[in-house]
């Protein structure tokens, strides 16, 4: 999934800074103001994206704590009590054990792929026919499954010859 979302945005920021900004006339006040806001918004989002899910998880934990304090004050038949209890149960079920650290996970993700790539490289150097036929098939099938996700992930770039046959972004990410 290279380039990742933040890298794409950094490239956009660079184009705005180096190509677009210099050609906007000095007296085009509104365009200059909008460009400045666009740049600041993108710079902000670049920092937020890796932390967005962790932020929401932390937030919902705080919500649950307050909800537990409020519950005893509501009557058991109160519809708000029922709603609050159901919300706590749903949040409990959805919460991961710890807030994900996107940077740490990315390091693990890369480490796994590097180890896999090195193992394939080593195994198939002067490999016998049997290995190409057996494990070779597994490597290609792995790459095909992965490729379907990748194609869906970047379908909006317009390069894919069969975009209609791809899963949605959501299906590609969540299965």
């Amino acid at each position: 999934m290279v380039p990742d979302t933040t890298l794409r945005l950094k490239a956009v920021l660079k184009a705005l800074d180096e190509v677009i900004e210099p050609v906007i006339p000095e007296d085009a006040a509104l365009a200059r103001e909008q460009l400045a806001l666009a740049r600041k918004s993108i710079a902000l989002v670049i920092k937020q994206i890796p932390l967005e899910l962790a932020y929401m998880i932390r937030d919902v934990r705080e919500d649950m704590a307050l909800a537990r304090q409020i519950l005893p004050r509501l009557g058991p038949e109160d519809p708000l009590s029922v709603r609050l209890e159901a919300s706590i149960a749903d949040a409990e079920a959805a919460l991961p054990a710890a807030p994900p650290d996107a940077d740490a996970f990315k390091a693990t993700w890369l480490q796994m792929k590097q180890a896999l790539q090195d193992a394939v490289d080593n195994l198939f150097a002067e490999a016998p026919d049997e290995l190409w036929a057996s494990l070779g098939r597994a490597v290609i099938e792995y790459s095909e499954r992965r490729n379907l996700r990748e194609r869906a992930w970047v379908a909006a770039t317009g390069f894919d010859p069969e975009p209609g046959k791809l899963p949605s972004l959501r299906e590609a990410a969540l299965g």
Partner: protein
């Protein structure tokens, strides 16, 4: 034990040397790639003011063409790989002539060597239409980074008002242009492959041994090295393909000049006369097996299906007619097995360029086209899709 992670954005010198030793390739390509790696931790790209480019041109021409005048310096559109500036040069007693300065950004989607491009374009003068290249600054002494200067050639890369994009992918020519350009496109290609390079000044190129696959192995090492140096996200299929290519490399029976990016978007034509006025983008050229070049032009991504469902090579000429015409012009045989082999190799190389180098370049903010390179990476999964299918067919038959 977990292997130490190399920070490829700040590569240690012993790692650079280890990669060079692991992937031996052509001398000048080794030079270009090593220069790239040694400069990687340096500054990102920042636009050069036109006044600076103009001053550099004036200084350069005061040395190589004393008394000449430089004017009209302006950036030129296109050029996903190199920065391009148009300017006019008036040599003493002569009318101004338009030229193009083509300069390397700190890094680009393909790392190549200006001396190779210069020598080959000069060698091809009179063989096929190419812009005249009078000057090269191979080590960047004059222009801050390596550059070459060619004569400006008029013409267009795509039909006026037609579709397609900056890379030339998806260019659509109408039936008249197909007829006019398809035949020329094929004949010029044949002339490149039958050119007698032995008498040309091409000392920047290593000559592959005929009837051996050593030259093919050197090409595999070139791109495998690029993957090692540039990739951010490891992909087992890239190394799997590399090992398959090594194990199945065919000998080169006839050593030809290989353009290596001969397709729509890389030639200029006059829309009035429909004559091809220049073959462009020689930077990836090398000496090798003409099947490598044929397979490159035959790639699905560069062509399209016509109304009758026939595949048009580069949107110009039907596949079987293209191959027949090429054989008629060259007198050389086309080996389908070699076409299949180079189809795998070319798909693998394209994947490395767009998912390895283009991404790395954008990560370092190293070029004038980072946003385009990040966008082009979207072509990578399409390349991998084809690579998977070609490997499956080659290894398992389907």
């Amino acid at each position: 034990m977990v292997a130490p992670v190399i920070d490829k954005q700040n590569p240690p010198s012993d790692w650079i040397e280890a990669v060079r030793a692991r992937f031996p390739t052509e001398r000048t390509m080794d030079e270009a790639l090593t220069r790239k790696m040694r400069a990687r931790s340096g500054p990102a790209y920042s636009p050069t003011p036109i006044s600076d480019i103009e001053q550099r041109l004036v200084r350069f021409f005061s040395e190589v063409a004393p008394g000449s005048r430089v004017g009209g310096v302006a950036p030129l559109g296109g050029g996903a790989s190199k920065e391009q500036f148009r300017f006019e040069l008036a040599e003493p007693g002569q009318a101004p002539v338009a030229y193009v300065l083509r300069r390397e950004p700190p890094e680009s989607v393909v790392e190549t060597h200006r001396l190779r491009e210069y020598q080959l374009m000069r060698a091809m003068q009179g063989v096929v239409p190419v812009p005249d290249v009078p000057w090269v600054d191979a080590d960047g002494r004059w222009f801050g980074r390596p550059a070459l200067i060619s004569r400006f050639v008029s013409g267009v890369t795509k039909p006026p008002g037609g579709s397609g994009n900056v890379t030339g992918l998806g260019a659509q020519y109408g039936p008249e242009l197909q007829r006019a350009l398809g035949a020329q496109f094929t004949e010029l290609f044949a002339r490149i492959h039958t050119f007698d390079w032995r008498n040309a000044e091409l000392d920047a190129f290593d000559v592959p041994e005929a009837r051996s696959n050593a030259g093919v192995q050197a090409t595999i090492n070139w791109y495998d090295r690029v993957w090692e140096e540039d990739s951010f996200e490891p992909m087992p299929i890239i190394r799997f393909a590399a090992q398959w290519l090594r194990a199945n490399a065919p000998p080169i029976d006839h050593v030809s000049v290989i353009h290596h990016d001969y397709r729509a978007g890389n030639f200029l034509f006059d829309p009035e006369s429909t004559e091809i006025t220049a073959v462009l983008d020689w930077e990836l050229a090398h000496l090798g097996d003409y099947h490598e070049d044929l397979a490159w032009s035959l790639q699905e991504g560069y062509g399209r299906l016509d109304d009758q469902g026939r595949f048009l090579v580069c949107g110009l000429i039907e596949r079987s007619e293209f191959l027949q015409r090429w054989q008629d012009h060259t007198g050389l045989p086309v080996d389908p097995a070699k076409l299949d082999y180079y189809a795998v190799m070319n798909c693998w190389k394209s994947t490395i360029m767009v998912l390895g180098t283009a991404v790395r370049c954008a990560m370092g903010g190293k070029s004038h086209q980072d946003i385009l390179l990040a966008w082009l990476a979207g072509f990578g999964p399409t390349c991998v899709y084809s690579l998977n299918a070609l490997l499956r067919k080659a290894i398992h038959g389907s």
